[in-house]
Subunit: 358 residues, 4 copies
Amino acid sequence: MSSFGKNIKVNIFGESHGVAIGVVIEGLKPGFPLDMEKIQAMLDRRRPGQGRYVTRRNEGDIPEILSGVYEGKTTGMPLCAIIRNNDAQSKDYKNLRIIPRPGHSDYTAHIKYNGFNDIRGGGAFSGRLTAPLVFAGAIAKDLLSRQGIKIVSHLKSIGPVTDGDLNEIKYEKEQEEAILANMLPMIDPNETAAALNALNTARMDLDSLGSTIATVVYNVPAGIGNPGYESLESVISAICFSVPGVKGIDFGKGFKLASLKGSEANDSFYYDGDKVKTRTNNMGGILGGISNGMPIIFNVCMKPTSSISKKQESINLKTQESEELVIKGRHDPCIGIRAVPVMEACAALAILDHISED
Amino acid sequence: MSSFGKNIKVNIFGESHGVAIGVVIEGLKPGFPLDMEKIQAMLDRRRPGQGRYVTRRNEGDIPEILSGVYEGKTTGMPLCAIIRNNDAQSKDYKNLRIIPRPGHSDYTAHIKYNGFNDIRGGGAFSGRLTAPLVFAGAIAKDLLSRQGIKIVSHLKSIGPVTDGDLNEIKYEKEQEEAILANMLPMIDPNETAAALNALNTARMDLDSLGSTIATVVYNVPAGIGNPGYESLESVISAICFSVPGVKGIDFGKGFKLASLKGSEANDSFYYDGDKVKTRTNNMGGILGGISNGMPIIFNVCMKPTSSISKKQESINLKTQESEELVIKGRHDPCIGIRAVPVMEACAALAILDHISED
Amino acid sequence: MSSFGKNIKVNIFGESHGVAIGVVIEGLKPGFPLDMEKIQAMLDRRRPGQGRYVTRRNEGDIPEILSGVYEGKTTGMPLCAIIRNNDAQSKDYKNLRIIPRPGHSDYTAHIKYNGFNDIRGGGAFSGRLTAPLVFAGAIAKDLLSRQGIKIVSHLKSIGPVTDGDLNEIKYEKEQEEAILANMLPMIDPNETAAALNALNTARMDLDSLGSTIATVVYNVPAGIGNPGYESLESVISAICFSVPGVKGIDFGKGFKLASLKGSEANDSFYYDGDKVKTRTNNMGGILGGISNGMPIIFNVCMKPTSSISKKQESINLKTQESEELVIKGRHDPCIGIRAVPVMEACAALAILDHISED
Amino acid sequence: MSSFGKNIKVNIFGESHGVAIGVVIEGLKPGFPLDMEKIQAMLDRRRPGQGRYVTRRNEGDIPEILSGVYEGKTTGMPLCAIIRNNDAQSKDYKNLRIIPRPGHSDYTAHIKYNGFNDIRGGGAFSGRLTAPLVFAGAIAKDLLSRQGIKIVSHLKSIGPVTDGDLNEIKYEKEQEEAILANMLPMIDPNETAAALNALNTARMDLDSLGSTIATVVYNVPAGIGNPGYESLESVISAICFSVPGVKGIDFGKGFKLASLKGSEANDSFYYDGDKVKTRTNNMGGILGGISNGMPIIFNVCMKPTSSISKKQESINLKTQESEELVIKGRHDPCIGIRAVPVMEACAALAILDHISED
């Protein structure tokens, strides 16, 4: 997954069925007490093996911290944490080296790495690599929360079902609590029920569902970010696209802006006391790559899980002939569900990196 | 705009009404003959002052090459080119320091740079900074074309009008020629006519239109890119979001994937002779962050021009009171039109950077 | 220790008495078989606990590879290896937080990290962090050896004793073997004996010795490197200065060039068959930051071990008064001895990084 | 020369006889008033054409600022400045493409760039590229001086002549003034006279002299820098080795430390009031890569000018035969003289980069 970040550098390593996955985080200020409960809670939201709507692979996902923490506090030195892979069932993947799964990285990884990549469980391309990303993101989220910054993500849509909207103007505690309490990370319990039905149907059809995830970052001060290549949008999007399955991102009203007029799209400024605000938040809190003090809003779309049990058309890279493929192994019917805390992690790391700049 | 790229580094500088804008390009192999006609032709597609659908500011946009070229060929050293600003009318911008334009960077730049930013013409936040980006992209596009790689962008939508689609499977010369020949960079002449009407209406309403731009890169070999943070999607998106006005990007079917099932979304593999292809191209030629040999497809949305002549609600940063704003100056009714070659430049630089890695 | 390298990135983490130290290496080509014996042999040359001339701390220094290797070969993904700290005796370091050792990082680390740094064993400032550096360097050295590139370092001087010179024109197997066979990493057995005497004297005096280490890289092809900030000298020196205790570096005749005339310093070119060579190698194989095909030569000086058992003058950071300090703990009488393979590692990583660029 | 710096990025471009040389500086805080007189004064100290002890090439070296400055103050955006090349006499260099100068980059550049490099005047390898480095350094030095940080360099030795020492404990205004007043940048007028004699002799012998330059940075607060690869020594050395002709660097007592004992080398701590100081400054103000509050001291050695008029042995790359070479063109008899302000620039940029981190 390689490294990202300028002030807070995150370097992720590991393969799905290798010895361990992990992360090195550089740039954390010294003296910050690590809240292992918060970290574990966020990891648990992403963890597999927790219900019938996610893969049955069972991993404790308990991180071991190797460096950078002394007497419970950050030392200012690189913090390395690893998570060992326990429940890998590698026999399931043997034939994927020669019969690549449609929609998956098997073929492209094979070409790029000349057949030397670790194919088991998708290797370094696995969604499992988002566990160390969430570990790092949990620290970032906790650091930001000390400045009053809140980050909330939810499944905005799953297949044909659409959730309600997060408040685009100010944080609502009830929304965050609902997302954590519902069986899926959604605001509306009725839509959650509908989504569970859609998931069941997809699973019985040996198929999978696509989804979108909305994220809002509240209370980011104005003036964070940059014009150009280090714009908030550039940095957030680059991190989000490192997450397997993300195929699109937009900010604020995003693609809907394409059919609006300037007079409809522009967010009018006004003073709320001595604080500058905008009446609407179509721009998602970002103007010219820099935060304007309103909540930062972005949406990503996740493709449907590519590993489905339905019979599919593929090829045999050895015989160079067509081949029918039925994928075994344990897979999520919708990768978006477990990706919700991952998006919070991406947002937290991108914002922390920018804030640390100033 | 700062720098981007790992193997081909691009460092853009300048302000809209400053002395000059320019770019330093590092990592170009020595011995490549610069085709100044191709470069100028691409700059001209982006250049203002060319018709009533774009701003009337008149700039020659003739680059002067200061270094990195000797006897017409690249030396392998940093190539610096500058474009002087000639037709700046700075008086138009005087009051924007205290009355920020809605939807524009005036307010956020003011906060970030403590009021020391060059406000004239949007300073470093101006779309004018895309001229050196196009200069660099024109070189990259020419270099790639020598390997058979073609890059085509068009206005996929403008306000309510939608253009036809670029071929998602293979390059069609006629499509590219139509885009260059029509009065707007669109494939379909009828839709072009409709778009011109919509632009006229917007202009008479003192308003502006949003748009989307589609880009397809043909003949990229399989195996280019990376998993994780240096995925093709990460790098392309980060560059595209450096372009003022871009608020969203998706790859292949993008956000439409969110409502598809895995069996609908996955692109089946087959052999065309000894070449691996996919029947559909929903993934936009990228799997696991790496090219699969099919055309690379992405779409960006551009917000409507934020500088509109209609009266708008804003604030006075000095008096801290509400203020009505009527923007003067010369502005494009739709920033997407001139951004079409800019997207080609972004694609060219991202792909060249990745190809140079291997 | 943070990360370095552009094509081969090395990210070192850990603290001397923490859970583990380790390294993430990115950019290794896939399919390279890891020779664990060679790696261990090079780690063993640096390892403590091997004799009375080095610290008695006893560490196995057996690396555990967590990722990036599959079926014994590199996968092309980040390779993480860790070495657990076993024999740490942390009680020895308790009072150094308030009474900093002269010549050591105790005081500066305390200031920089506000007292939150892991003080035990020097924390991240410890020479122990060179173990993962040697791990990475051993892989680099092995990769380079497949292209015929040989790297040899020796203790050129230790206190008043000076070793013979490595051949500056071509590799001599006997020299390398002598260095590995002698009780200290030196060419000349007589000088080795003299050096052992000097070490004994220093140890009995509760004192320590400075040293210089010479390194020669043979068979680097001409044309590797860059002008400017990524010159071979820049990259090699930056890595070498990351090693605790290095206080100077020079290339070829180095500081002696300051008193030579141009006609004496310039290395004359000639043809040896169709190969370009120079008669002398005063420039250490580098001209304009780029290799000229002659052996690359550099020397570093290492300060004497700062942790000595002799009584020293220091201060108490709490009481702000003078304090006499007698350092306990196990320390090398000359840090240069174990730093010899570390310099080979630095050279290997710098050269591999540059070679991978082309 | 490519780019360096993490917080203050410096990107240098240009070729000796090309259109212009220049620099893009990123990361300067907005609102800093540029003192053009100080910048020009520092450029003038490096400028050629000023006497018989330096090359007779006559360049005004007047920088033109293209961006990043508005109403005389930095905007916070990339600052680009260029210096046009006026007095280039390119005919002097024609035959160097096939008959490379000993000790110069002609041969290595030819190999690296396949003969496409701009050979005129050494192209991008020329010492002329240090003019934009001094421009950037002058700004950095001025910024640092506002925090009380002073940087002084002098010619410590030239051929056989040795200058007095800069005060290693505290800044002396008289020393700096003497260096600026003497005919060479030296402290001692008698040694200056001796040095001028040595230069005259070398020039009459058609030969050149090597030199060393000492630099001291006064009043750097304790706690600046890092362990590992971003140590103060790593960053300073990497920048200094980007300067053509530098072949060695050491810090504090440097190579002399190799023959000292720990008890001699360690700098004892004491309190001067409530300020921590050391009795001696053998470590050059740096412990563990971090400043300790004492002056930062480093020395570089410069090889003698490689372009000498004496007849030399070289080769003909076309005929592959030996060839005698007599170099024409205008060259400095000792490149160290004009490199003195360059070392101040290197120190200023390295320190500013590190200070900006915190």
